[in-house]
Symmetry: D2
Subunit: 338 residues, 4 copies
């Protein structure tokens, strides 16, 4: 994958989105969801916010996302606990309404490309008190002193992330938070769950399609939290958080009764579970993958269960959020055989 753009798109024509989507692979109009047009960003994903636009299945949207700190951290001397205020973290663009979407349908979100936004692009990685994988938190409540607050300002462009003099990485972006509205709940944008949300899966970058179960009219798509690079688990609690221009195509699949988000790319299909403890996220992900193999690939339930025990792939999304995320995947060149 070249930095931030999807590579070979030939598989797209054979994707579930293309085969089952209302748009049948056709690309529609392009909409600009600029920072101005967004106006007020959202910190909760639900049915109560005012839609920012309505699109047709197949349409493309060019989204200007803000960084997870809403741009409030600008210097390495900023103190996160002073400039950040829970729950006003991880601003989301949207909700984008998709014409015809109803409960029981699925939104397909293909990420076409991502690039850093602005003239002098940079990312932020920081340590926030009581947040992260290796610290006591508000849930894993301890009496230990919090870790020191740290801010790293990281220069980046659409090819590289200049982490330090010692280490330069490829720009390998993905979207940390992508979701549709629950039916009646409104969930803060830090929490992943059945609706998607803050899953922090490195696989959710350019060249991937995410499938999200619609629970309210129009689907109400929210998107944000671009990462220029992220390790499995996002262990310190933040990745390289940056403002991005992210281009997506959105299609609608009617009547696909899935319970949790799913993902597809050129090589694999993946089910995504979010829960605590972490083993429950793994259980959800693998059970959904088995159900998928049974429904769409002709496997017997227990054959699929046993076969995944010898060839399944698991990705640790994060184990730092209010809920943790694991994706369970099967390679297409395995499950599509026969």
């Amino acid at each position: 994958m070249t930095g931030g753009k999807a590579g070979d798109e030939r598989w797209l024509g054979q994707s579930i989105m293309a085969r089952r989507g209302v748009a049948a692979g056709r690309v529609g109009r392009t909409h600009a969801l600029t920072d101005d047009k967004q106006g007020e960003y959202h910190y909760t994903v639900g049915p109560y916010s005012k839609p920012v636009m309505e699109i047709e299945p197949g349409d493309r949207v060019v989204v200007e996302t803000r960084d997870a700190f809403d741009g409030k951290i600008v210097n390495e001397s900023d103190i996160p606990s002073q400039v950040l205020h829970v729950p006003f973290l991880n601003p989301q663009n949207g909700p984008i309404m998709v014409k015809g979407a109803e409960k029981g349908d699925v939104l397909a979100v293909y990420i076409e490309s991502m690039r850093p936004r602005g003239d002098d692009p940079h990312g932020i990685c920081c340590l926030i008190p009581e947040f992260g994988g290796l610290t006591g938190t508000i849930y894993t409540a301890t009496l230990n002193e919090p870790l020191p607050e740290k801010v790293r300002l990281i220069r980046l462009d659409d090819q590289h992330v200049y982490w330090s003099e010692r280490n330069v990485f490829d720009y390998r972006p993905h979207i940390g938070t992508l979701g549709v509205s629950p039916e009646i709940d409104s969930v803060n944008s830090l929490t992943p769950d059945q609706h998607g949300g803050n899953m922090d899966l490195p696989d959710m970058g350019p060249g991937s399609i995410t499938y999200l179960p619609v629970r309210s009219p129009g689907g109400r798509l929210f998107i944000g939290d671009a990462h220029a690079s992220q390790g499995d688990g996002e262990v310190c609690g933040t990745a390289v958080e940056h403002a991005s221009v992210t281009t997506i195509r959105v299609d609608l699949i009617k009547r696909w009764p899935i319970d949790w988000p799913r993902l597809e790319n050129a090589d694999m299909i993946m089910s995504i579970g979010s829960a605590r403890p972490l083993e429950d996220a793994a259980r959800i992900a693998y059970r959904e993958l088995i159900r998928w193999m049974v429904a769409d690939y002709g496997y017997d339930q227990f054959d699929a269960y046993m076969m995944l025990s010898m060839c399944g792939k698991a990705r640790l999304g994060n184990f730092v959020d209010p809920k943790y995320t694991i994706g369970a995947a099967a390679l297409k060149n395995i499950i599509e055989r026969g």
Copy 2:
């Protein structure tokens, strides 16, 4: 404790509610929150629903609660999975607005009495597929066949719960779900968290005061889910669910910065944590109790930590909901000494 009514109320005059509340122990007007007045019940606790009434601190409200199944289960032959529809479970009365309540304040909810509602009162206990403590669930996802669905219709009155020919129990009611609105989230009424919600603590009955951290203007109090009797853990997922007439007094404590719900009765103070895994609920509850002992009872943090290791009490609220609840308590006759 006589069935469903608070006993000796002399301690009330020395309660935190009386000492720090705006009403200073005075009882105000009595409001009737009948089923009719409630009209539409709520399945999510948040800032987006229309208030059902506004009261003054110190006022009394007589609330007609529905059972957790919204009255949809009426016979033992009813099949829960056919008549119940997630997320439309556990209907809540409210939101009740309390004049003057602002973020940073606390609502104090004293439960004065509870009695079964209706001419022919009864309760329901049932097994719902993939719900409960000893079954695979949507989170602890397994491939096992679900448990059989079962419904028990239980006759009861304000003295007894007639469980079976073999076993008759005292009517020992409590409120399963009590909460205030989060700041921007709206949380389904099955989930407990920092805002309170579905904590299922048997201690939350007549004679108890629950303290809830206000996060939005007016506090927005929600209440429902009366249990005629409940064991620690509510192991099968439901207790003796019944429609009730629950009388509460609500006061307002200004500027009491607490992070999680707290409870007080004649004998003890209790902090309440809700999280998964269950040990995190215990961690939260005990840490908050220590903080309370430091702030209000003059203990050193580590002295409190060590002393609770020899005299703390823990109550298992539930380990069946989307989040689990534990209350950690200290006896007043211990911590108030000295």
Copy 3:
């Protein structure tokens, strides 16, 4: 309960131990397991250590237990991390061999009395780095600085625990660690599991009978870790640890196929689960209790499940050890009806 002695023993004649034990309630010889006779204490519970004595079912043993720190902490200025060395913690008396005990049987251990040992009895409560409920540990691994080390030396006698000028408590002792050998494993004395071990249940004091599933010839009973007082959860990681003289009677129940430890006292029967996360300990405890009610009290499995949801009691043993412990109990006056 008077300090450290079992009260009314009339129920004993109706206990499971009396009704099903080989000794049928008769008290046999009394053996002295003094510190001298014990010689080498054990830090692991298994089949590989040399028996310290063999007794007949029904015999009484007067055990001189050491404190959990093996007496190495003698002043409040001692630094736990310097004088304690993992895994040489929590010294155990035993193994005591019981004649005729075989895999598939159960040892019944009735605690007749406990009293502090020595002329100038005292207990120790301390904070050990990376150990306890409200701190990062070697498993819940964090980067936070450890908590400060603290030692409290607490004067006590067979009536009281003189915790501080402000707080004096009743002497309410129990045995923290009680177990039989696994079949082939040898488990450090800090870890509870199916064999019993470090369960830290306050109910396991004078007047209680613990039932332990025999897995190796003779049963190989280990005992130690007396607490003068302990709160639910033993939140700081240690209780009031003291050397004791603990008098037990041990009987043998042939062919009682139980998977986890059980406990009985005058008022209740309790099943004990030890696992992580904590909800698994609760699941084990309640499932075993249901199985017990089905096998010995004539309940239908799902009736028992639902009834415990309205009347079950749960005790938090500890949530600080390598595995956590929960006891689930039913009152005798409920389950014995009918």
Copy 4:
């Protein structure tokens, strides 16, 4: 990697084993640990079993491992619960004593090659009641009916695993269980922990070096549980279990104070944590990796923490055993820079 043999070995000369081992990269004598020589296999890893051989650092051992079922499952019609008897599962070769190994040292185990054993090689994958990731278990205790028992007999050779008519996989073997003795505990061979044991990490195959912290004289190396192929998580509880001929080289690194197992291959270094809940395994693995980067690669603790948040890799070992395993890794071409 060609089927079961390590590929390019040039990196070996620069490995930690070569640079810090007593043998300094020299290969010593070759020992045959045949099934006959092993005689009695072991089901518990500890200090109490009789050594099977003693070797010098640098020596090679050709080990004939049995499959995890000890060869007791031979037909697809065999019923696991009838032929398998806990705790007599997962037989281990060893203990192999390494001359000079003492507490505080590390054994380095390089897997040189693996191949199926026997004339008509095959593997077994099966469903065992109450065992596996998507079923109630003895810990995650439920009342659901167990899953059906299933046995798959899978033909294989040193190139392929003939799973089904539809799916043939590469033979990509690894060792599921590799460990040294704890100091005083003896741990059943199903449980991973600080001593190694049943980690079920697919990375632990030919071309990898595992580093194990010595806790008893001679180290006492145990090895077994060869998998012909395994997916992340080993979701059904068993992989393609097969008898193997596994060739290892063992070296000794003096005075390397590590707390948990570590792994190295051509591309990465990995720390391995085993615990429940699964997030604790992730916490351990990442904390140990940070400590490693600080001690041996010159990173500041918090720099390493933040950098791994953008480039760390996590491998799910298993989430089905009594403890779960996660490996956290950093690529050598990243951390060796600068």
